[in-house]
Symmetry: D2
Subunit: 417 residues, 4 copies
């Protein structure tokens, strides 16, 4: 069949994408289903069985965990990525690896069209489609939830269930949770449904990756993380295991931090498309690693470089959130991030306990930036305190002019406001 009628659909096995799969087939398309394994819990065989039963030509399941950690999560840690001061970008980080792999799948199976089940109000549609268009501008997109012929037909869940019944689409017998969630190695997110009331706390059973801090163990877990070139290379748990591979280390930290209730965030954020929405996020390992990385940078990165990189990290985070991973600016920023991390190496001792992560100590033997002797208030070895007088005097020149002008203007600085 001509590639013009071949669609590569992001298929999760859920009611929405099953409906889309069937609908596409009924519209005359041949559908190749694609599902990325980015660390979520899933009955993979069941998904494949369902896709094929519904008429998919094939079901591709692509394990992207390793590249997800190495190419997306670790750069995020290197630049202390965060969005609007709170969100660790878990979903945003997964989208580029998924989108890229889906384009590769489309190429392999001769599809000229890509499709997804994202809603028309969210960030994910933007992230997938911008990534697809950058990766291969010649591909077409079918976004059913933005097509009136689709979204008017399926205006509510009842319409979907009716269609499912008519088309032999199996529907899970467990009732749908009154919110949606997105799970991957980096985090699990919870939004929409009852969470759309930001003045109500998230229900206790929302969280899947962290235990409730109130239910966490009564004894803290201590461990140390060793960094090299700004990424974690070793995890040593006190009285426990030592883990070294990037994926294994990240997973182990997810377990440890999650078991201690670390990594919950509940915010109202600004979506790229201009709406505010409430999101709840569970990011155990990311939370710990971001803190550890900031700490080791304190020992190993020059103050002015830190200040520049804070800006760079913020720009990188905005790129990711807005779906601009495959962009010239992200490439440029990441080049700086990598460069800035060459000498970020050392070990951070930490503790997680009932919802909080704490840095206890750190060492960076290869860096000369921290010097106990220089820092010491008890010795003047190699330091001339008189120099500071000159430093202050020169810094004061423009401040004295400011103060003098204020006096002249009748607003002396000595006055409290």
């Amino acid at each position: 069949m001509s590639s013009d009628k071949r669609v590569c659909l992001a298929y999760s096995g859920g009611l929405d994408t099953s409906t889309i799969l069937k609908w596409l087939i009924l519209e005359g398309y041949t559908v190749v289903c694609f599902l990325a394994d980015v660390g979520q819990k899933e009955d993979w065989a069941e998904v494949e069985k369902k896709a094929l039963a519904l008429g998919a030509e094939r079901m591709i399941i692509d394990n992207l965990q390793q590249e997800f950690v190495d190419e997306l999560i670790f750069p995020a840690i290197q630049c202390n990525a965060i969005y609007e001061n709170r969100y660790l970008l878990g979903t945003s980080l997964a989208r580029p690896v998924i989108a890229r792999a889906q384009v590769r799948a489309a190429h392999k199976y001769n599809c000229k069209i890509l499709s997804h089940g994202c809603t028309g109000k969210g960030n994910d549609q933007v992230r997938f489609e911008l990534a697809w268009k950058a990766c291969d501008p010649s591909l077409q997109v079918i976004a059913p939830w933005r097509m009136p012929s689709f979204f008017k037909r399926f205006a509510g869940r009842q319409d979907l269930l009716k269609f499912a019944a008519e088309n032999n689409i199996p529907v899970s017998s467990t009732p749908k949770a009154p919110w949606s969630q997105d799970d991957n190695l980096a985090h699990c997110s919870y939004e929409s449904g009852i969470l759309e009331k930001p003045d109500l706390p998230a229900p206790k059973d929302v969280w899947t990756r962290t235990v409730d801090p109130l239910d966490a163990p009564d004894v803290p877990t201590k461990f140390s993380i060793t960094f090299k070139e700004g990424v974690p290379v070793k995890l040593e748990v006190e009285g426990g295991e030592t883990v070294t591979g990037s994926l294994e280390l990240f997973k182990a930290l997810n377990e440890i931090a999650g078991a201690n209730g670390v990594g919950r965030v509940d915010i109202v954020e600004s979506r790229f498309i201009g709406l505010k929405s409430r999101g709840c996020y569970d990011s155990p390992a990311l939370t710990v690693l971001r803190l550890a990385h900031i700490d080791i940078e304190g020992m190993t990165v020059d103050s002015k470089v830190k200040s520049i990189m804070a800006w760079v990290g913020n720009e990188w985070s905005q790129c990711l959130y807005n779906g601009m991973y495959f962009s010239p600016e992200r490439e440029l920023l990441e080049n700086s991030i990598t460069y800035s991390q060459k000498h970020v190496a050392g070990k951070v001792d930490m503790m997680v306990y009932k919802g909080a992560a704490h840095v206890l100590a750190r060492s960076a033997p290869e860096s000369n930036l921290y010097s106990e002797e220089q820092a010491s208030m008890d010795t003047l070895e190699g330091f001339s305190p008189e120099d500071t007088s000159g430093f202050i005097a020169i810094q004061a020149i423009r401040l004295e002019k400011y103060g003098a002008a204020k006096i002249k203007q009748g607003e002396p600085l000595t006055r409290s406001s």
Copy 2:
């Protein structure tokens, strides 16, 4: 006596400043002692008695708590102030109010000289002196710890003790802690001494304002904070008190958060003078209020304004850390901060528990930025999903060019690195 020999000395009653007081008198100066009450624990009568006994002309004790909270701490909350991603600036915030009040004291008591007991390696000397010079460029400064005639004479603690013995300076019978601390409403800091080994955890008994998270109550404390124009105006504790005055509210939060182990930070930071040093900080109320304020901004501040204010807040924080409070740039930045907060109003529900603060929910009835209906994934009321297609298509124009160029350059974006 001529004002040229009159010194206004920042006097704490400790061994260092008592030595300086006596030394100044021996050098022929008349000394007016000054101590700001910025919320630290102190036996005020004892300090006064000691100063007068040592020969000070008078001891001024100036309660600055209210202006400290209103003019410094609250703007810090409004701009989510933080230094190097961790430090909440507790000491930096107190310095401007203290320095300004000391200049006023110097004016009142006809002193042309100011003096302090700060070391020559720290930030505080810079903060005090830049503030003094801005407030009144005509004042002179005596900084004994930067004068060879002083620091060579008092090269170690033994020299200070010997001088104390010879000059009837009373020395506390409790042995000095092997670190130094600075206490005010905003925080208590701990540094130097045994803390100069950043690879060793801070001793358990360092912390004075927060209980150890492991010893914190087994039941969380819940409360809500109401903001108006970006500052907290009401604290309502679940099953407890309601507090409204700015100073009272801040103190109450210090108690609540501290009792639950919230607010500890242990970092290696970059001092203004180019050295790295390790600091431990206890900032219970600041920690909670910063988090609450970020949260309520999520509901009430436009995304682009947030992004601009993140930069402004960062610049403001650097001004404060570097002692540039009395500077034209801080004035300019703060003008923006105040302006940005006009409509930051609402209520945040929180919980503190064993070392962590959590946001549970929030509401901002006066803001139209969050709209449940608009945000909802379950309705399209007032939203045309087709618009997003156009939005994506236009955003993609330059990304498609980027992807096409990459293909031409032999580095297609579909390739994993």
Copy 3:
């Protein structure tokens, strides 16, 4: 008639908007025509006559010159506005005043719909519509050049001419220039048509507001500009007039600078919608005033404030270019701009000559920032050169660490690359 069928159309009298006017009427709309006088050359009576002849209910001509200068052009001067390092934003500055006045006209004449003749590829459609939607979200927009029913019918100029002939739309007998232009007080722009080949120089007869530098007078024109609060308040031409009103002053400078060939810019710029395009701009007065303003800021603004304001000015410029004048971020930025200009006052002596503007001298008697005595290399009055040694020593601390680390890494800084 119901306001739902009443359109307020931005009408210029040209072939495009005349076609739209007629087409709207044929589609059943009642049309109120609107034309803003922002300083362009126009036969106003002729435009009105034409609009009414074609069936417009009325023709509103609104003189916005004064608010254009005071509310848009002068803030641009205050923040040294520029886009992509070259473009002085002439068109971008006019759009907000025009859009706002058109909304007022729509309100006055009971129109619920606004319309314009902008193309679908340009910036202006975005600027108008974003401004309209911010000013009154309840208004609808008809953008014919983005409606397939319109743009497919009028696919080329021949279709427009045919429609004109059929509908008695008078067409100018002078042949259309092979490019388009937009004229206002701030500038005249030239783009599209033969200018779309950026490798060919703009034809000599493109420029309407500046003489060719090669044809400019052989004698320079000298003048001085007096600033107060960052805006020009007096223009004194050597051997000539003195002008004080903001609008009059701006117009006089347009004449003087234009007559000397000053203000041409020819660039390839990035449109908001992701395309690059070539634009030629004639902005005589803006060019001179931007230079003069930068110069007087050199005398009157603190270095750190300058550095912050450079960033603010850049953000403001991007807002304007992208049609985000009516946005919370522009309001925030402009608040800072105004605040930063309180003490920007003084006089700049300049010369324009054959295509270039030159600053010759300046004075700012009310500012204490420049001090001949302090700056002087010939005296040390009030300056201790030893202070600089300390200043350098402290600044060097982190650089010495950097140099030492480089030596250890085998990349000594002494090596040329």
Copy 4:
């Protein structure tokens, strides 16, 4: 002799450094004189003869022109470097290459001390010494103009002349110009003396590298500059030569632009040490190349990348101005600059005429960013104008909320201020 008494002195042959040379010898030092050839006009043999006659052990003259252009000037062009919106950094750019070479000379001739004749109020002392300390923290510095024993003895020019007479220091018979100047390939600067009155125009005979625009040729000179990776690689003069080597090209452009009066700047700037000073600068080639580079970036650099690089270029410029070339932040920034320039290639056609440089046209055949077809207002090939409607609608979401809030607050955006 022990290296502890061996000084490597930056020696120019002038009265100041000749006095310092003699003074150092009288103080018991052995002096190796060092002079960098960075393109200034100099009678090199005469300088050497004078140094040796005064007792220098040797006179090193080091031709650094090639590395100056390649390592400093070209990166400045790549990032469109400018300080405070006007100054092209000519002196700042030369300092790092000179300082580095002087350290190499000190190493070669076993000197542990470096010395210079910079004044205590200027930027150059900071630039030299920070560079020296970064390149080799073990070196000592003698800065006579900051040593009371020196500057009190030589309080005025008469003292220097008297010392010269007593010590057989030859003094030039041509009277000293009433200002100082610093000449190198990048520019010639003029400051101090009579130029310290910023309200008086610089005398006509100040400028050495540009003719007065009024005296420039009546016929423009046209040429094109070809860029590759952001640096000029070919200069083709209309009806004249073609130049390709970096140094030769830069020199040729200096001649052409200087002969047409292009490159003069007269400003009041903020020195690093907090003072404002007036500087006049002649930078013919830099002026032309900065403009050409900005222009070719318009064709070849993505808009978002441009915006990031504007910030990077500004930071780089501040590093250079403040003497922070040898710093980790400059290294980081320059890494980004280089990276951003990979695809900056093309040709810019220009004209210089009586004080102004003009871009006439440009082409960049290897870039796909500018597309005549896409940009064209006359065709819709490959463009769906409807997309822009969606783009605008989504961008408007938050602006509509802003406008609605303004109406509610009683400040509708339709109101002129």
